[in-house]
């Protein structure tokens, strides 16, 4: 904290220093004491008050802090003689910001700047306030004022950045850019520019207006020398030339860059693109965005005439040869890949030569075939070959590798490469079942055999051949896909756990295990795997997609709550704090980073996962508290009765989402909400399926969120609607108690129905039809939970509106209660009946059962609670002349409670049967999947390799720690992990059911007293 002339906020510094020191050392009580004595001496000093507020906020007393801050603010405004110094204002700002009142902080600065219009320090403070609030127009105005005041380049650039931000965010177009250009031009004429970053911004302003020629002129003029690193300047120059369509000059520039840095792959693609006059790289994505680099190898078929094409390609080949000859560095891959790319382009043009391409591939293999990146390097080049040629290439590789190297790690690397290429070219899908098993066996054998190579490695280093186990796992999953034999999953789990015993830190194993445990229903073990990934900070955004979808439909509420809470806290904290950091970029004159940073913030803010978590977290709380209506009402109150979620649902159409998940780490077979390969029949796909489903995913997420965000409000209205009942209804002879509730609920039901693809009346037909058995139950299978929720809310609405009440001969039975009861009973009991013993079935039906109980049944439980509560006499006074407990409505409630009890009982019975099975029996069943009864096929072949290996280890060969680790390996422990993982899920589910049962029993008793 700085001070001028020994004064701080108008107070002698020696008086405030003890407070600063106490705050710095986090002795807040002490600080408060000092502050009290300071205030005794300076009761009307805004700075003294600001300090007090700061201390109070740090002590966790936000309300007191705010009120002290407001008094300080009032003092500032009231008395003009007070010093409007930056120290006071910035202290207030800190507190206001921490209290989420950026607006108040800003208005203090605005007021101060109004009072002292030429104070640069205050203006910078004000600028910073606008930065925090992302008010780009105000930023621009303030920066211009500062620029006019002192004429400094940086303030001009602050203004220009603020203009660019307005343009990027869609508020203002050409004219604003023209203004920015004019300002810069004028400044350059009189003062030139002094910073490379300023020049970058100047060029980007011109580029955004497609004034490439002007930009080039500036770059090649005196200002160009501001770039101290040559390649940086050349890259911009090349880009501008290419954008301007001057491909031949651009190609020359890219050539120059490659001569300076021959491993620059992106630059090579630019070079080739320019030679072929292909603008794909220059017109895709956001045309005005020089920051987002193009990330792919897309290219257009060349429109060049054949002889021109030939001559350009021969130029390219010649240049590539030169690059290859010019380097002695044998780690450079670019010149060799460049060769492959030249051949690929020829193929795309229709003048490809398979043999040449294969020669180039072989050359690449001889140099880099032992590297882990080889296969992903050449994948795109293999794609242009026919299936036969791919097989031919594979054979060549096998032959070629024989004579290649004698260094064991290299030999291993090449063997792995060949196996990987086999997978990539789709050969695996054509193998027979036993060939596939053989292949997995081969991989695991290779892994075991090569373990000695890793005996001297540091424990944190990756082992040689580590990926073999992941590859074997993928093969085993494919075997499951073909045969539906769960044993392959168990086997895959076994070998990965074996790998983890030897090396604890292998991420890929943990991710594979996480998915395998999920697939076999051992979700709590899957969650343990996720936790062991230690995904924190932004990794919660990029990595939690592995576990979150499964957790959302599981009964592991405590873990799910932690997952959502940690994630939301990270994101919200980031959004709150990150704006502050923007100012770093302004202050350090890294202007181009300002724009990048704001766009990055947007990228995170539009995260699909963030949206999902924001809706799912409150829904989880509603599920958790549904068995206690008072608690539930408190939750609803904290959610403003669901209003803001309705708003979210209304806005959903205009939302675009970002997908920041790291999908690279995800194996192709892991189920997503769009596609679960393993559920469908085995398809003979010819290559590695890795489709880009972003569009479908976006539509899917938006659809789900739109529906889900209606839930809190509908739950609230249902509770109200159900209680709007008996007393009033009977008192005023069945008329509506609160027409607003009823009409709003009806409106939301209409929306909900529409989201299911029906009108309200048609949806009522559907639920009526299915509940009475007229329509087949499969009618609503695809959106089962939503349909049942709909039925529950429909009944609640009908309780106050009576629009559905058309008593027929059966009286109440035809009513909406009956619809809900029969649907819940039907689907829950059907599910329970069709469930296999969990120990030998994958995780498919259980999540649906969990959802049935935790959503529609829970919401229905709330309707019942509300109904019963309002029918009970208020207070102790027994109401006479109230409704007759034998009257039809009570009968319906009683029946409904009974029916729900029945459904829950079915579930509990099944759960207890599963849980109470002796562990030994479960372990035996699990391990029996791997015992092939003496046959040499089926699950267990790979497992056998591991078992044989671990029972015959050679200590000296393997070294100490590997042999120790192998000795610790216990298949029974792994089986136990699977069993426990399943049982934990079941126990949690049972607890959920027990709580519901308790509630229903209590309701039964209460209603008996009416």
């Amino acid at each position: 904290m700085a001070s001028k002339f020994g004064l701080a906020g108008g107070i002698p510094e020696r008086r405030v220093r003890p407070i600063w020191d106490a705050i710095d050392s986090r002795q807040f009580k002490n600080a408060l004491k000092h502050s009290a004595s300071l205030l005794a001496k300076y009761p009307n000093s805004p700075y003294a008050l600001a300090l007090k507020a700061l201390i109070l906020e740090r002590m966790g007393k936000p309300e007191e802090a705010l009120s002290v801050c407001l008094s300080a603010k009032e003092l500032l405004y009231k008395n003009d003689t007070f010093l409007m110094d930056d120290l006071t204002l910035s202290t207030l700002q800190i507190v206001f910001q921490r209290l989420d009142h950026l607006d108040l902080a800003r208005s203090c600065y605005e007021y101060a700047c109004g009072k002292s219009p030429n104070n640069l320090e205050l203006m910078m403070g004000l600028f910073n306030c606008y930065v925090r609030e992302y008010s780009f127009v105000k930023q621009q105005q303030t920066a211009i004022k500062m620029y006019k005041l002192v004429g400094e380049e940086r303030f001009l650039l602050w203004a220009v950045c603020s203009i660019q931000l307005q343009v990027f965010c869609g508020n203002g177009g050409e004219k604003l850019l023209l203004l920015a250009e004019g300002l810069l031009k004028k400044h350059v004429a009189s003062h030139s520019l002094h910073e490379p970053e300023a020049l970058i911004v100047y060029i980007s302003v011109l580029e955004q207006q497609a004034k490439y020629g002007d930009a080039l002129e500036i770059l090649s003029g005196k200002l160009g020398s501001l770039f101290v690193i040559d390649v940086d300047r050349l890259r911009i120059q090349g880009r501008l030339l290419a954008r301007a369509g001057d491909y031949s000059d651009a190609a020359n520039i890219f050539q120059k860059i490659l001569e300076l840095s021959p491993d620059d792959w992106e630059c090579f693609l630019h070079y080739l693109g320019c030679l072929l006059e292909d603008d794909t790289n220059w017109c895709n994505g956001v045309p005005n965005d020089p920051i987002l680099p193009s990330k792919h190898m897309d290219c257009k078929l060349s429109h060049l005439k054949e002889e021109v094409f030939d001559s350009r390609m021969s130029d390219a080949s010649e240049f590539v040869q030169k690059l290859q000859a010019g380097t002695s560095d044998n780690t450079l891959r670019c010149p060799y890949l460049a060769n492959l790319e030249v051949e690929r382009r020829k193929h795309l043009y229709g003048k490809g030569d398979d043999d040449k391409l294969m020669d180039a591939l072989m050359q690449y293999f001889f140099r880099f075939g032992h590297l882990a990146c080889f296969t992903s390097d050449v994948e795109v080049f293999l794609e242009v070959l026919t299936t036969d040629k791919k097989t031919e290439f594979l054979e060549k590789l096998k032959k070629g590798s024989e004579s290649l190297s004698t260094v064991p790690t290299k030999v291993l690397g090449q063997s792995i490469t060949i196996l990987k290429v086999q997978e990539v070219v789709g050969k695996m899908y054509k193998l027979s079942k036993s060939e596939l098993e053989g292949s997995a066996v081969q991989m695991v054998e290779l892994y075991c055999r090569n373990l000695p190579l890793s005996k001297d490695l540091d424990p944190q280093e990756n082992m040689h051949g580590e990926e073999l186990l992941s590859m074997a796992c993928n093969v085993l999953v494919q075997l499951f896909w073909r045969t539906r034999h769960l044993g392959y999953f168990i086997e895959a789990i076994m070998i990965l756990e074996f790998g983890l015993t030897i090396r604890r830190y292998v991420w890929q194993y943990k991710i594979l295990l996480l998915h395998l445990y999920s697939l076999v229903g051992a979700l709590s073990s899957a969650y343990e795997c996720y936790k062991s990934l230690d995904a924190k900070n932004i990794l919660m955004e990029t990595v939690s997609h592995h576990i979150l979808p499964q957790m959302l439909v599981s009964p592991l509420w405590v873990d799910l709550n932690n997952l959502l809470k940690d994630y939301l806290k990270f994101m919200d904290d980031h959004f709150r704090e990150s704006a502050d950091l923007t100012f770093l970029a302004y202050r350090h004159r890294n202007y181009s980073k300002v724009i990048e940073f704001v766009q990055f913030k947007e990228q995170l803010q539009h995260s699909n996962q963030y949206l999902v978590a924001r809706v799912e977290a409150p829904i989880l709380h509603l599920k958790q508290n549904a068995d206690n209506i008072e608690e539930e009402e408190r939750v609803l109150e904290s959610l403003k009765f669901g209003i803001q979620f309705i708003e979210l649902s209304n806005e959903i159409g205009s939302k675009s989402l970002t997908f920041n998940e790291d999908l690279q780490s995800r194996p192709w077979w892991t189920p997503t909400s769009e596609k679960n390969y393993l559920l469908g029949p085995f398809e003979g796909i010819s290559f590695f399926p890795r489709e880009n489903m972003t569009k479908e995913r976006e539509a899917n997420v938006l659809r789900v969120i739109e529906r889900k965000s209606l839930l809190p409000r509908m739950i609230y209205l249902s509770i109200r609607s159900a209680s709007a009942l008996l007393k009033e209804n009977f008192e005023v002879n069945g008329s509506l108690s609160d027409p607003k509730i009823s009409s709003e609920l009806k409106f939301l039901l209409e929306r909900y129905a529409k989201l299911l693809g029906f009108s309200l009346s048609d949806s009522i037909e559907v639920v009526l039809g299915v509940s009475s058995g007229v329509k087949p139950s499969s009618t609503i299978d695809s959106d089962l939970i939503d349909w049942l929720n709909f039925a529950v809310f429909l009944n609640a609405w009908n309780l106050s509106s009576h629009e559905l009440a058309q008593p027929d001969l059966d009286g109440y039975k035809a009513g909406s209660w009956h619809i809900v009861d029969s649907l819940l009973k039907k689907y829950i009991s059907e599910k329970v009946r069709s469930m296999d013993p969990l120990i030998c079935s994958p995780w498919v039906d259980l999540p649906i059962l969990v959802q049935l109980v935790s959503e529609p049944l829970a919401w229905h439980g709330l309707v019942l609670q509300s109904r019963v509560r309002s029918s009970l006499p208020s207070g102790k006074r027994k109401k006479k002349g109230g409704p007759d407990s034998t009257s039809p409505p009570f009968h319906a409630i009683r029946e409904s409670i009974q029916s729900s009890c029945g459904a829950i009982e079915d579930v509990m019975k099944w759960l207890r049967e599963q849980i109470n099975r002796p562990e030994d029996e479960n372990l035996e069943t699990t391990l029996s999947f791997l015992q092939g009864k003496g046959q040499n096929e089926g699950p267990g072949q790979v497992f056998k390799i591991v078992e044989t290996f671990s029972s015959s280890i050679n200590d000296t060969q393997l070294g100490d720690w590997i042999s120790q680790a192998v000795k610790c390996w216990s298949p029974v422990d792994v089986a136990r992990k699977i069993v426990t993982g399943k049982c934990t899920v079941l126990s949690e589910f049972l607890q959920m059911c027990e709580s519901k049962m308790k509630l229903l029993q209590a309701l039964k008793q209460q209603i008996a007293q009416v």
Binding site: H191, E195, I291, L292, C373, Q460, H588, R589
Partner: protein
């Protein structure tokens, strides 16, 4: 084929994944942001041809007794892309920028005593020398080598040190002249560490 280029804010997600996969020392998001907003010229990534980040270097400037020096905060290369000289290239890029943009006198770094691979890279390939051993530098109690390498120093006109010629106003650079930030202590929070 891997391109070594300056990092952008969009790379931060991948850089952090890379960090997490390679190193036990992980940093908060704002520490990355702090680096990229303050010294964007010192952050480089190694990008594979599909646009995946396979390595990065995170560096910053420090000022001690008027001597400006660079410091490597973190360096990582994914295991699939080791033995390709990427770490060396990333280091060269950062060191060059320290020298050319900021006129750094030397560059420093910390490395775990047990990390032989990284130590060899710094000592043998890059020419760093052990300056001293910092006992119990890492959270788990391991010692670190504080290693340094001399750079060319202030030969280049510092781009921040310009005056506003022709203007009557004297101006103060709140920060312009220096290469460091006072926000650092607050933000760094965690001890830096590095390995490869």
């Amino acid at each position: 084929m891997v391109c070594i280029r300056k990092a952008t804010a969009y790379d931060l997600l991948d850089m952090q994944t890379c960090n997490h996969l390679c190193l036990p020392e992980n940093y908060q998001m704002k520490y990355y942001l702090y680096h990229i907003l303050t010294w964007p010229k010192l952050l480089y990534v190694a990008e594979d041809y599909k646009g995946h980040i396979v390595g990065y270097v995170l560096a910053k400037m420090k000022e001690e007794s008027n001597e400006c020096h660079g410091h490597i905060t973190s360096l990582a290369v994914l295991r699939t892309h080791r033995k390709l000289g990427l770490a060396t290239k990333l280091m060269h890029a950062a060191q060059n920028a320290m020298e050319q943009v900021y006129g750094a006198e030397y560059v420093s770094l910390h490395v775990r005593k047990s990390n032989r691979a990284a130590f060899n890279l710094y000592k043998e390939t890059l020419g760093y020398k052990i300056h001293y051993v910092e006992a119990k530098y890492y959270e788990d109690g391991e010692d670190a080598y504080d290693m340094r390498k001399k750079l060319k120093g202030k030969q280049i006109h510092h781009h921040h040190d310009h005056g506003q010629h022709g203007h009557g106003h004297g101006h103060h650079h709140e920060h312009g002249g220096g290469c460091c930030s006072s926000a650092e202590a607050e933000l760094s929070g965690k001890k830096e560490a590095k390995a490869m």
